[in-house]
Amino acid sequence: MHKINSEFSEKIKQYGAFDINACYNCGNCTAICPLSTEDNSFPRKMIRATILGLEDKINSSMDPWLCYYCGECSDTCPRDADPGGLMMALRRYQIRKFSLGKVADIFYNGFSSVFAWIILTLLAIGGIYIFGNYPDMEKINPLSMISLDTLHDGGIIAFIFLILLAFFQIYVMMKSVNGFKKKSFKFSESVKGFFDVLFKEVLAQKKFSECEDKSRYIAHLSLVWGFIGLFIATITVMMIDLFISTQSTLKIIPKIIGIVSGLPAIYGSVYFLYKRGKQKDNYSKYSHHTDWIFIILIFLAILSGYALDICRWSLFFKGYYVSFALHLIIVFELIITLPFTKFSHLMYRPVALWLAELKNKE
């Protein structure tokens, strides 16, 4: 027995999906969706749940994470109800819903998010100011600005914080989507499913590739691979610093990885920035401010990374340290807000895919 809550769809409209009420339940969106399957079909069921305000159904659904917003559903919707837009809106809704202590609310409210980002930035600057030193202006040595130990400790603290939060929020999500109820999963299947998702979806982005518009898939894949590369490069540099020597020539390897991975990442982020700016395709017609902040941060993170290297080569020391500080601030913000912003799809989506995989196995 469900009761109707017609306020709910109004609430969802804060996150986009303004036209969803126009839906007349023809099922075209579900049927055109290349990712929708017989056992796991969306988005119409989500539309229905939203219009009727069946929050349980929405809270317990993984569907928002399985959608890549190819936009075909919205392109062909006979009522112009933008079903894809709803899936995005529901994602935003769920990020809030699953976040610890509703912290994500801060970032999803236009008003409070301004303060949050300012405070975070100030915090980062303050951190550098407190824990850092005045850098060595004679040569380029990032560690002269902020010590290896500080970085190391900060990094570890951030990672522990992140991992705890991630586990907690994934736990919240799985509980919410009834992921734990099905005790019938076999352990071996779970593991296999995990690797399937890791290789097929995280690394190859197979589902994304099923969208009609392949350019988005390529851009996203570039971004993912670029990011993984950059991440590896950063970690490796720190590892070499920590365990070998800050002067080790080995550092050339992560440097090259970094420069090479930066390129696809730049391509990907520019692509999305451009598309969102142009607002032509359905998925880019409407951008929530959180979408903008996320993509801009990513872009700035990579850009500041490149600026670092450019300054280093051009021996523009001041520029180097400023970029370094900027890079640190942005990376800090990205990492620290990961569980509460759009970035969190990095953790939710693989889990959702994994759960969906296991569900299909039943």
């Binding site: 023809c26 099922g27 075209n28 062909t76 112009d80």
Partner: protein
Amino acid sequence: MFHLEYDVMVVGGGIAGQETSLNLANMGFKVILIEKEPSIGGKMILLSKVFPTLDCASCIATPKMSETMRHENIEVLSYSEVSSIERIDKKFKVKILKKPKFVREDLCTGCQECEANCPVNVEDQFNFGLVGRRAVYIPYSTAIPKTAVIDIDNCILCGACERVCPANAIDFTQEPEYYTLKVKSVVLATGFNLFPARKKPQYGFGMYPNVMDAMEMDRLLSPTRPYNAVIRPLDGKIPENIAYILCTGSRDVSVGNPICSQICCMYSIKQAQLLMGALPLADITIYYIDIRAFGKGFEEFYQQAKDMGVQFIKGKVAKIEEIKESGNLKVRYEDIEGSGGVKEMEHDLVVLSVGMLSNPQITSSFKTEELELDEYFYVKQTDPLINPAKTNLKGIFAAGTATGPKDIPDSILSAGAASAEVAAYIRSLK
């Protein structure tokens, strides 16, 4: 034969135009009927049978057509177009272009000897390209006037027709003729255009031969059927499993037509019933959003189809894929009321129940004023509740599907209404 002045000019010789002409002629008005095709009859004459009574369309249409043609108060100009309408005082000066048929109507006996000897083959527009026709042709066996016409764009000027014509009716010297007439009133019964199914690329119409539109299916089922059987256009196979996709091009903003065409549900149900008769072993599935069986006897007709075993599935088909080896088609839909979820079903023939679009071509003929259209380019009814045939222009009336989608009974009623309004208008001029 030709008066220079008429009481009424009716534009369009479909069922609404004929009915309007006949009504007015029976009241004693002089009517000139303009039809752009070589034969009057419009779309109805091409149909097989009509819902919900399952009368054969020709049985209803042909007597009306011949009565129209024969009526002493009606002058029919076929293969003609209205090129201009100008208001002069209380009357209209209209210019009509009579396209050359290159066949003398007064001599042609309709023996089709020319057709038998013409070497050219082009797609037959009255069979929607299912078969070919000659460059000289009679549109269909029930055509009125039943005289041949030469499609000069496709003619290779071999002269075979001219040589064999026993009546010496071929005349290549014909030129376009312009007539200037005075009329007191004009009725626009210009009908509708079929939704071009190609505009819905997900359905593969034009790409997959076994995806056809419903008008083609109606031709396959009609007494003058081009295949003499219901078989697939791909390979001539007798289909066993036929799908209907309703709302193709209707109720669909993505193709720019959010309104309902109001006939597709019923004609699909009709075709399903006819197919059950023609192919007793075939399975028929109708994919629908809402079944709109609203007219007199329609709901009962729908229930009858259900009882006959036609399967109705709620869900709009989103796309169709062809299976290469068999030419069969896989349709993808959400089984909303069934088990739920996306389903794929294989059919060996898919019929797209295409809707109606407006045919606003006539607007360009108005030279001294502008005819108002509605949002979807149908002629706007300015007083739909009380004077349904009235347009924004005094003396210009509309009937049939010119003002919006209608089925045949409603078109006929609207023609009746238009004739009453025209009669009142002309009387008011005195």
